[in-house]
Symmetry: none
Subunit: 222 residues, 4 copies
DNA sequence: AATGAATGAGTTTTCATTCAT
DNA sequence: AATGAATGAAAACTCATTCAT
């Protein structure tokens, strides 16, 4: 189901398109925005790659900003569907579930690096203007999932019963986020390497997850 | 002492300027880059705000990129001087020291929001080209300080002796970074609020630090 | 038919324009390039004189260089059509034919002084970068015509049968070229005057051609 | 002895400099002008290469144009000294003398390619403004030498007595000029190759001279 | 509904020349 | 006399958006 922002940002004409064409256009736009950043992304390039005319795009979206908002919204829906859905299906202890979600995140960040890049882009000060509309939606959704997980685990006695649920949720989310960032951004990857690749060998995603699990374990273990 | 990048990125003519003028130009540039992001920042605007001619800027720096590198480097030096210097002077237990550094970070992020914004900017995918030159420098320096702190605390038995030093250092740095981000970026602030402001009241910096200390305490306590 | 370079240098959008508009734009550009030389010619000025926007020009041609290449190519096609076509239609002895071509060249250089100026421009060392693409095309075409003429004349016994065909062709071309240059370039005109205007009276084109014919006659006569 | 233009174009301050410094500055400027053409040549670059300050140059010469005029004049004096001086010393038949001058020209064009490039530059339409002052001087001087040679040869019966002296002189000069051009300009070299290098092998300077001598022989032989 | 050509303000960078020291 | 920093007007090129067809 499409969210409110999404509905506002795009024009009726867009919603009338065959869903396949809608998805194709959004995928393309997400890709270009991710690769170049909001300001460097070129509307004409998006149109060309999407196989539509410049004029058409401006029938579908009010302007570049609307298109970006729609892309973002589209990406967040995807993230929710692909990552947090694991919380509902994953089985085992809380640690096994977290590892599962981390692995899913890692796969997602590889497959949909563009979506993650968009999310990363949102944090920059020059995009403060977007935060008001977008951040809340993303974070509330994620928080809900984490909190549920922790509560459940605490009831089952898998984790320290003194732990503050919000803190635990926040820490898990931080790790999820920084893992995803480290997969798509050279800077966040470098940062990871600086702390953990003692030799010159590159830390692969598996190792990153091990490190994260160790730190979460340290935190939550009873 | 100015770092290597700094020396390379700026021209001799710049280094010959009175230090006050140098600082003024860099401050201005940092501010504009922070406000607009690298690509959106306008060289002419920087010149105007700094009170120098366009031509002059290009005598001081090879091009926009060099100016940016210099700004970044300038900012990192400032951060190191103002934040990490606290590690050397702060006294008390490891927890008191960390709180001190967090408070310093908070003050720094308010006073030099532009510098932090620049650092945040560095993480975005569209700035991957800068990561190679810049990330290493920043992170290695920070890591050094954290590691020293942890080692010292472990020797004194203030923290769990089983703890992995790198993990501890990484977690402290994450918290420092996200605290600073939450002060300058609407998105990262929102994210903090989502997790911790149960009511509609805004979480102030003091509360943010309390939360962070709680999570670090949980992690390190013996 | 448009030549290869021409096709490469201009964009599809240009070729779709009404032929009249194409010609108008190229004529204008040729004129400005001729007047100012490649580097001194101003893209904005060309646009203004041609009555199109700056943006439009960059839709038609990749950049200034492409525009120049197209202009050059356009000029060469014109030269071939207007000058060398005479070889095919002109009748009489070889000398009559050559005089005819010289006269045509003279008229062409007056009417299309810009095209000749472009050709002259090509020789300068600062335009060496263009020589590789352009020179071959122009010269091969001209040489073909000259050689055909000489061969034909030799068969008919109009000229010395010992004469080297390439030398004869080269000399004819030199004279054609220097005649054209002398019409558009103050320097090459002055040069002509220095050698032939005994009095202070200016040598007119007719006299220049007489002089050239005398020297060619001396060379080819059996 | 310095010519009139030279004296006008340069300031008194320049003439007071040690001759070695004067020569050094002019050599440098000639080199840069030759490499880049008048408009692309960069005054600051000339100063840097010459080891003088920007300010100094503007004490020595009124402006860029004055500097160029002085360079040109300096170059022509060099050409006269090095090339036409051979007419006075060379011995043998007229053909031997001409070959000697061609060889000298070839060597000169290699050693002082910059001077020749300047001369070539003078012909372009965009430099018409210079022709008035400069062309006359160069051509008159050269013509004098050629005419003397022909007259002498005619008296000795080495060449056809019917030949027009001016035509002969002009043709010799054309060949000299085009040989020099073909050595420094890709376009004029290509032109030579088109006519004479039947195979893909490049025509070397020796061969070029042979070709020229053949054509001159054809023309002058009794 | 869809197209895609056209716009023109805005961007980075260069450079001849001046002038305070 | 000499320096070299400073100027600021160009210049090439880009791009979000519009609009006639």
């Amino acid at each position: 189901m499409l969210s409110i922002i999404f509905k506002i940002a795009m024009q009726k004409t867009f919603k009338k398109l065959p869903e396949k064409k809608q998805t194709h256009i959004l995928d393309t736009a997400v890709r270009v925005f991710a690769r170049k950043g909001y300001y460097q992304a070129n509307v004409a390039e998006i149109c060309k790659e999407a196989g539509i005319s410049n004029g058409a795009l401006y029938k579908y979206f009010k302007n570049k900003e609307s298109l970006f908002l729609s892309c973002f919204d589209y990406g967040v829906d995807l993230m929710n569907r692909e990552i947090f859905a694991r919380y509902l299906t994953a089985s085992g202890t809380v640690f096994e579930k977290i590892r599962d979600v981390l692995e899913t995140t890692s796969r997602f960040a590889k497959k949909h690096s563009d979506v993650v890049a968009l999310y990363l882009e949102l944090g920059s000060v020059s995009n403060n203007r977007f935060a008001d509309v977008l951040s809340d939606k993303v974070e509330k959704s994620a928080r809900g999932f984490h909190v549920e997980l922790i509560k459940d685990a605490r009831e089952r006695g898998e984790i320290d019963s003194d732990i503050d649920i919000n803190i635990a949720a926040y820490i898990i989310d931080n790790n999820l986020m920084l893992l995803a960032f480290s997969i798509i951004s050279d800077h966040y990857n470098q940062r990871f390497q600086t702390y953990f690749s003692s030799t010159s060998r590159e830390l692969d995603d598996r190792k990153k997850i091990d490190v994260i699990m160790a730190s979460i374990g340290q935190l939550l273990k009873p």
